[in-house]
């Protein structure tokens, strides 16, 4: 029998899985054992989950922390790591050595840079504008402080997740985003 720890939103589940004598698989979630079959269709991210009274189509793709699953058009992001559940937004929001990093929330072209290194910025003031799909998107500061590093120039392409600039914070903790 194998055990897996899964997290879906605020819910953490210890799932048990075992092979039945006739070679099928059954899974125990929250004390309920269920016979299950899962088939992948061709080389696609489409899977079919066959239950006793229902056949469910599932789109599933791997992510670094688990699986990104869609059923009936709704997303289910499931973490399968063994560590403590992460607080949402934790990695991107936290200060490292008193510095806050603005990461690109989408891939786009840097349309405008409103600040220079050394500039003082308020919390919520606009730092950069990124253009994607003809829309101009303002990126604002999560902290008040001083621009300590500027990694992009106007006209450059910024990949999602890239560090765009850093702000040395005045306070030790950023406020929680809305």
């Amino acid at each position: 029998m194998a055990k897996y720890t899964l997290r879906l939103g605020d819910r953490t589940v210890e799932a048990e899985l075992e092979e039945t004598p006739d070679g099928n698989l059954r899974v125990n979630i929250d004390g309920v054992w269920q016979l299950v079959r899962l088939r992948r269709l061709g080389d696609t991210p489409r899977y079919v989950l066959v239950l006793d009274d229902r056949v469910i189509e599932v789109l599933a793709e791997a992510g670094p922390q688990g699986f990104n699953i869609q059923i009936g058009g709704r997303p289910y992001e499931i973490e399968t790591g063994r560590g403590r559940p992460r607080r949402r937004g934790e990695e991107l929001e936290q200060l490292v050595d008193g510095e806050w990093t603005l990461r690109a929330p989408l891939t786009g072209i840097v349309a405008e840079v409103m600040v220079a290194e050394g500039d003082a910025v308020e919390k919520d003031s606009v730092l950069l504008i990124i253009e994607a799909m003809k829309m101009l998107n303002e990126l604002r500061s999560a902290v008040a402080g001083t621009v300590s590093a500027l990694n992009v120039k106007e006209g450059e392409r910024a990949e999602i997740g890239a560090s765009l600039l850093r702000v040395a914070a005045l306070s030790a903790e950023p406020e929680q985003p809305a």
Binding site: Y4, L6, L8, G9, R11, V13, A15, L17, L25, V27, I29, V36, R40, D43, T44, P45, R46, Y47, I56, V58, L59, A60, E61, A62, G63, P64, G66, F67, N68, I69, Q70, I71, G72, G73, R74, Y76, E77, I78, R88, G89, E91, L92, E93, P105, L106, T107, D124, I129, E131, M133, K134, L136, N137, E138, L139, R140, A142, I160, G161, P177
Partner: protein
């Protein structure tokens, strides 16, 4: 009819035009930017030429490169689609100078109607009411006084605009300048022209537009109205024809107004006249779009007329061949625009590779798209990736068809507006047709109820975890995408579980 047509566009509308060419037996030429060599429109055409880099100014907006390519390929006409060069009078004139037919209105009409202020003068001359506004483009200096004279709330609109780009609502003088800044920037990015003008913001109103067809022989007909009040930040998301608010009498008045504006402008080819309709049944001209509209399919479904084929016939000199009395509008059609935006995260653009797409089909469903498995959604272009369109005998049948079509529509790898549409089509006010242009912000709070299939998702994750442990990463049974794009998915997963300083500018 033409021998060979170059389609100066990309995405779903390029494919739409190429389909019409193929049905008419006309040879076709595509142009594509460097990152779009594998795009459907490039594959669909008989010939395809790379004309430059990803940014539109280097490719799809380069009138010189496009005309040079048309000459190289021996095309005798150019269809501009919508957006890009479709309403640029200079481009139409350059085509004519090169001996190539521009499939659209004459350059003079484009110039007149493209200047939104001049367009209003034409409407007034045609005896149609207009919305109060500035008589010309305004700069940062004149704007505050002009806005005060018109009276807040006001709209800033791109003089060269269309498609909701470069439009900003300003409710008070204090926010006028930053809004002007963003609107001009978007207008510049979208149309290569940063000119904007101001207009009184009427509220509540419906956005109603009338499709017209005009031939070179002077015949002008209308094909009824489209209801386009479902908008988010002046971007249309859902369109239908007919409008729940328009009866036969009003339809006749709207149609007559649109035709008289077209005649006043000496208009030729397909076009759209946009009005605001208030609750008393009065309507006001806002602008004329001298091109094919994104939402043209709803009119095609109720009229039975292929508008793109009609454009080609008209541009090649053929008469319309049907009078207003021949136009018979049947049933009800609705379109949903599917964009690469995360409807659950403030419509944030969502880029990446589409790992799977499966489109709705069956009775009464039409899809206009250029999606395929493996398509990379690029940052350079408009976020519209597909249109789901349905027809029903009445509005109820059309609504239930769209609900069914939206449930069938599957896209994996990027986020889209499908969740928004699925929720809209169960909203009681929308279903009752009780909408106006600010319906979305006033009455519709998007937000996804928790899915009912959490347990099934956990079962799947358990089985996939088990397979992964047994088979190692990348085995035949591993989850799709593990090898190929793990790092990219990592980035996206990280993003989609965060909050942050991000927001779309208003």
């Amino acid at each position: 009819m033409f021998d060979k047509v170059l389609v100066a566009n990309r995405g779903e509308i390029a494919v739409r035009v190429l389909r019409a060419c193929r049905e008419l037996g006309v040879a076709s030429v595509a142009v594509y930017s460097e990152p779009e060599a594998t795009a459907l429109h490039a594959r669909y055409a008989d010939e395809a030429y790379c004309i430059g880099g990803g940014p539109a100014v280097e490719s799809y907006l380069s009138s010189e490169k496009i005309i040079a390519t048309a000459k190289r390929a021996g095309a005798d006409a150019i269809h501009p689609g919508y957006g890009f060069l479709s309403e640029q009078a200079e481009f139409a004139a350059a085509c004519a100078a090169a001996g190539i037919t521009f499939i659209g209105p004459r350059p003079e009409s484009l110039r007149q109607l493209g200047d939104k202020v001049e367009a209003r003068r034409i409407a007034e001359a045609a005896g149609v009411l207009t919305v109060p506004g500035t008589t010309g483009a305004v700069g940062f200096d004149e704007a505050p006084a002009a806005a005060a004279e018109i009276g807040y709330p006001i709209l800033i609109k791109a003089a060269a605009g269309g498609g909701g780009k470069g439009i900003r609502l300003v409710t008070e003088a204090a926010t006028l300048e930053p809004a002007l800044h963003l609107a001009k920037g978007e207008a510049e990015a979208s149309f290569g022209d940063g000119g904007v003008y101001l207009e009184r913001y009427l509220d509540p109103v419906r956005h109603i537009e009338v499709q017209i067809l005009a031939d070179r022989q002077g015949n002008v007909i209308h094909l009824g109205e489209r209801e386009c009040s479902i908008q988010r930040r002046s971007q249309k998301l859902v369109e239908e024809s007919p409008s729940p608010a328009v009866d036969a009498g009003l339809r006749e008045r709207l149609g007559a107004a649109a035709i008289s504006i077209a005649r006043q402008a000496g208009y030729e080819n397909a076009g759209t006249v946009e009005f605001l309709l208030d609750s008393t049944g009065s309507f006001y001209f806002i602008e004329a779009n001298a091109r094919l509209q994104v939402e043209h399919p709803v009119t095609e479904l109720v009229s039975g007329i292929d508008l793109v084929q009609a454009q080609l016939r008209i541009a090649s000199g053929e008469p319309l061949g049907l009078s207003q009395a021949d136009v018979r509008l049947t049933g009800w059609a609705i379109e949903c625009r599917i964009t690469a935006e995360d409807a659950l995260k403030g419509f944030m653009p969502s880029l990446g590779q589409i790992s799977l797409v499966s489109e709705p089909a069956g009775p009464g469903v039409r899809v206009d798209s250029s999606l395929f498995d493996g398509l990379e959604i690029l940052p350079y272009y408009d976020s519209l990736i597909a249109k789901a369109i349905v027809w029903g005998r009445d509005r109820g049948e059309a609504l239930s068809r769209m609900r069914r079509a939206l449930a069938e529509y599957e896209i994996a790898g990027i986020k889209t507006t499908l969740p928004f549409h699925r929720e809209l089509f169960v909203n009681p006010d929308f279903l009752a047709g009780d909408i106006e242009t600010r319906f979305l912000e006033r009455k519709f709070l998007p937000g996804l109820a928790e899915g009912a299939d959490g347990n099934a998702a956990l079962l799947v994750a358990t089985l996939l975890s088990h397979e992964r442990q047994r088979g190692g990463w990348g085995g035949a049974q591993a989850a799709a995408g593990e090898q190929r794009s793990g790092w990219r998915l990592a980035a996206r997963l990280g993003r989609s579980t965060r909050g942050g300083p991000w927001r779309n500018t208003p």
